[in-house]
């Protein structure tokens, strides 16, 4: 009996210890949530020779998508040819931050990207232990509209191009991107030549592009193809289709409305269906994007003449030896306007629940290190567009070999303000999934009437927005 009691006491003690350990995670109180946004954060305007404030004694910054941890650094160094420009950005961000802020303990988190990142961030927010900053692209508007992001301090916004700022439905700025890209038309000059086309003349209108693509496909006779507008059954499809909708002054919808019954939407879908015939069957709407990019740029393949992609395509295609041409996206023959969509954007914001000291220290670090001209140069060298207006206006940065795509993007950015993919107030992912699978992919996989496809999808989406 005594043994049993001892055993029971030991067990109870063990369980209590476990429970205590499990509950000991540092939780932030809701009181912390009312953090002022960068009050007293007296830092210099971004882009200037920044002198980080060596403040933040005892502060710990847990950051995402702004610096590499040890494992990531090792992986970058182990790459064939060593780290690329994007790796250098993250590696030197860390070096500079740790040198400039010796009193701040940095934690460099690798939480992946897209869904994986969203899941980890939501888990941290739900557990009331948010990191010092959150990152993301398409889901940032949802975060902003859910009231979980702090407003970006006005001084951090100074010198930032408005295209790089994520605003909430209330019109307030909640996040700033350190890099982005827009879509353009890349083409393989060799394939244009083989099809009897002038390799130096890019299509400027939809009909020109269609004619050229059809000519290449016919000449290729199953060996090479012209290509068209991708309709991948995931966001990669909707993102690439969006500029064509915006060129006609329309879009899939946004907030609490869906716009598939718009005749202009159906006109674009008809064009996408027509252009899809210039892909080998199943390539333009494959759930795996890989085969399409391989067809455009991989050594030994390079059998696709046109590709709609972000500016990063340039560096990658040139590395693979594609005889590359770059042009703005062709415009509709009549009644069109320049339209595009941001892609590859990395927005950074500070979640509610981060203490005032941490918030202030974070914005100081982000503005003076991550948004400094010196650091952003790495992204320009990687063919991406950066947020500083001083850099956007500096022509010298976009001259020389391998900068053709970037010049096209910068010209577009100078001509107007762009936004990312539209977002819906409710069930955003589910709505996009229907658009991607039941509209875009179905338009190119079947010959079902486009108005019927749109009508069915519209009926599916409307209840999701209520």
């Amino acid at each position: 009996m005594r043994t049993t009691r001892k055993f029971a006491a030991l067990l109870v003690a063990m369980v209590m210890c476990l429970a205590l350990v499990a509950c000991a995670a540092p939780a932030k109180t809701p009181a912390d949530s009312a953090a002022p946004t960068g009050a007293g954060n007296e830092t210099e305007a971004p882009g200037e020779t920044a002198t980080p404030q060596a403040s933040g004694e005892g502060v710990k910054l847990s950051v995402v998508m702004l610096g590499y941890n040890d494992t990531q650094i090792e992986a970058a160094k182990a790459k064939d040819g060593g780290p690329v420009n994007s790796d250098h950005y993250y590696m030197t961000n860390r070096e500079k931050a740790e040198a400039a802020y010796p009193d701040i303990a940095f934690e460099w988190n690798d939480w992946g990207w897209a869904e994986a990142l969203d899941q980890k961030q939501r888990a941290a927010i739900a557990a009331n232990t948010p990191p010092s900053c959150i990152a993301g692209e398409s889901f940032i508007p949802t975060y902003a509209n859910s009231g979980i992001l702090q407003e970006v301090p006005a001084d951090v916004l100074e010198g930032i191009d408005p295209s790089f700022i994520a605003y909430g439905a209330d019109g307030k700025p909640y996040a700033i991107a350190y890099k982005t890209s827009i879509f353009m038309l890349f083409y393989n000059k060799d394939l244009l030549s083989r099809a009897g086309l002038d390799p130096e003349v890019a299509p400027t209108t939809w009909s020109e592009w269609q004619r050229m693509s059809e000519q290449i496909t016919a000449a290729g006779n199953g060996e090479y193809w012209g290509g068209g507008v991708p309709s991948f059954p995931h966001n990669g499809g909707a993102l690439r289709a969006t500029p064509f909708f915006r060129q006609l002054g329309t879009d899939f919808g946004g907030n609490d409305s869906i716009n598939l019954s718009d005749p202009k939407v159906q006109q674009v879908l008809d064009y996408i269906r027509t252009m899809d015939k210039n892909f080998p069957a199943g390539l333009g709407n494959n759930s795996d994007e890989g085969p399409m990019w391989n067809a455009f740029e991989k050594k030994g393949e390079q059998n696709l003449a046109f590709a709609v992609n972000g500016t990063w395509q340039e560096a990658s295609a040139l590395r693979n030896g594609v005889n590359l041409g770059v042009a703005p996206l062709p415009l509709p023959d009549e009644g069109g306007e320049i339209g595009n969509c941001l892609v590859g954007t990395v927005y950074i914001g500070v979640p509610v629940g981060v203490s005032p000291e941490e918030t202030s220290a974070f914005w100081d670090f982000y503005k003076n290190v991550c948004l400094s001209a010196e650091q952003l140069q790495y992204w320009i060298d990687e063919s991406c567009v950066v947020p500083l207006t001083s850099m956007i206006e500096d022509d010298a940065l976009y001259e020389g070999e391998g900068k053709a795509g970037l010049r096209v993007a910068i010209d577009a950015l100078r001509a107007g303000t762009y936004s990312g993919q539209a977002s819906f107030a409710k069930n955003d992912s589910q709505v996009w999934e229907i658009i991607n699978q039941q509209v875009l992919a179905r338009v190119t996989m079947t010959q079902d009437p486009i108005d019927q496809i749109c009508q069915q999808a519209q009926a599916q989406i409307e209840p999701l927005l209520k």
Partner: protein
């Protein structure tokens, strides 16, 4: 009966103090596991059920009680019914193929051969391989280009390249093929264990009576494997109703949603769309349907035993 006899009988029925102590000690030994199960299984299960009656996106605010609204959505939007039906028929098709093929494999493995160890290992290996890695190979094989993957073989043999991703038939075919390829090993090993538990003298007697191989299978093997079959089918039904990783990696529900299943929808609603309330409601419905299937199967089993 005398008073002494009655007391003795009572004492026999009541466990002794020593026995009670042993039972208590046994429960104490098991207690950590009960706590572990409660923490990691029961609490999340109950919380998931609770979420089904709420609206919650894991951002900021707490779950908001909405009563039966999510269930109302489930039963009023035809899409959810279609997903449930597809989960049932695709899952059952995969289960049927897996059960039959694993049984035939077990029969083949039950012969005396010097290389049977290699074959047993070979059919089990897919089950311990990472799904994400092996499905990537399947996806690469389904490349639509004529000079890639399976199409390369088909065109080399004079056939026409197949655009696999355009066809519901082909995508279901490859989902089932992968499901069977990956899970046939464990089922075959269990069948094999059952086969080896059947008394060999029964086969010898049947041979003496002139029974053919298939008659031996029909009258000795299958009845002898009743309980093994029950285990395989019962766990198989549960597995089939939870099938989603194969769908996610191979077809992603395409072409245009025609291979989408409810379990994949639950995953997407929960962890991509963060509509955790709807995911909870869908899970509850799927759980109830799975339990009903399992009970129906057990009822059929019991009825056949009674007959």
């Amino acid at each position: 009966m005398s008073a002494i006899a009655k007391t003795a009988s009572k004492a026999k029925r009541r466990p002794s103090a020593r026995r009670r102590r042993e039972v208590r000690r046994a429960y104490l030994v098991l207690l950590p596991f009960f706590i572990y199960i409660a923490l990691w299984n029961l609490v999340p299960l109950l919380y998931g059920l609770y979420l089904g009656f709420t609206e919650y996106n894991a951002l900021g605010s707490s779950p908001k009680w909405v009563g039966l609204a999510n269930f109302q959505t489930f039963f009023s939007v035809p899409e959810y019914g279609a997903l449930l039906w597809r989960q049932i028929w695709m899952g059952m098709l995969a289960l049927l193929c897996n059960t039959v093929i694993s049984f035939l494999l077990a029969l083949a493995l039950n012969v005396q051969s010097r290389v049977k160890g290699i074959f047993r290992t070979a059919i089990y290996v897919p089950n311990v391989s990472a799904v994400s890695a092996t499905t990537a190979v399947f996806v690469a094989l389904l490349n639509p280009l004529a000079n890639q993957g399976l199409n390369k073989i088909i065109t080399a043999l004079g056939g026409t390249a197949v655009t696999w991703s355009y066809s519901q038939f082909w995508m279901v075919f490859w989902i089932v093929a992968y499901f069977v390829w990956q899970r046939v090993g464990p089922a075959a090993i269990i069948w094999l264990g059952g086969l080896q538990g059947i008394d060999p003298s029964l086969y010898e007697a049947a041979k003496v009576d002139g029974a053919s191989f298939w008659q031996q299978v029909r009258y000795i093997t299958i009845p002898g494997l009743k309980f093994i079959a029950m285990y395989i089918l019962l766990t198989g039904i549960i597995g089939a109703m939870q099938m989603f990783d194969v769908v996610m990696f191979i077809s992603k529900g395409n072409p245009f949603g025609l291979t989408d299943v409810l379990m994949y929808r639950i995953y997407r609603d929960g962890f991509i769309n963060f509509n955790l309330g709807m995911a909870g409601a869908e899970s509850l419905v799927l759980g109830v349907v799975t339990v009903l299937f399992a009970l129906f199967y057990l009822w059929l089993q019991r009825r056949s035993e009674d007959e």
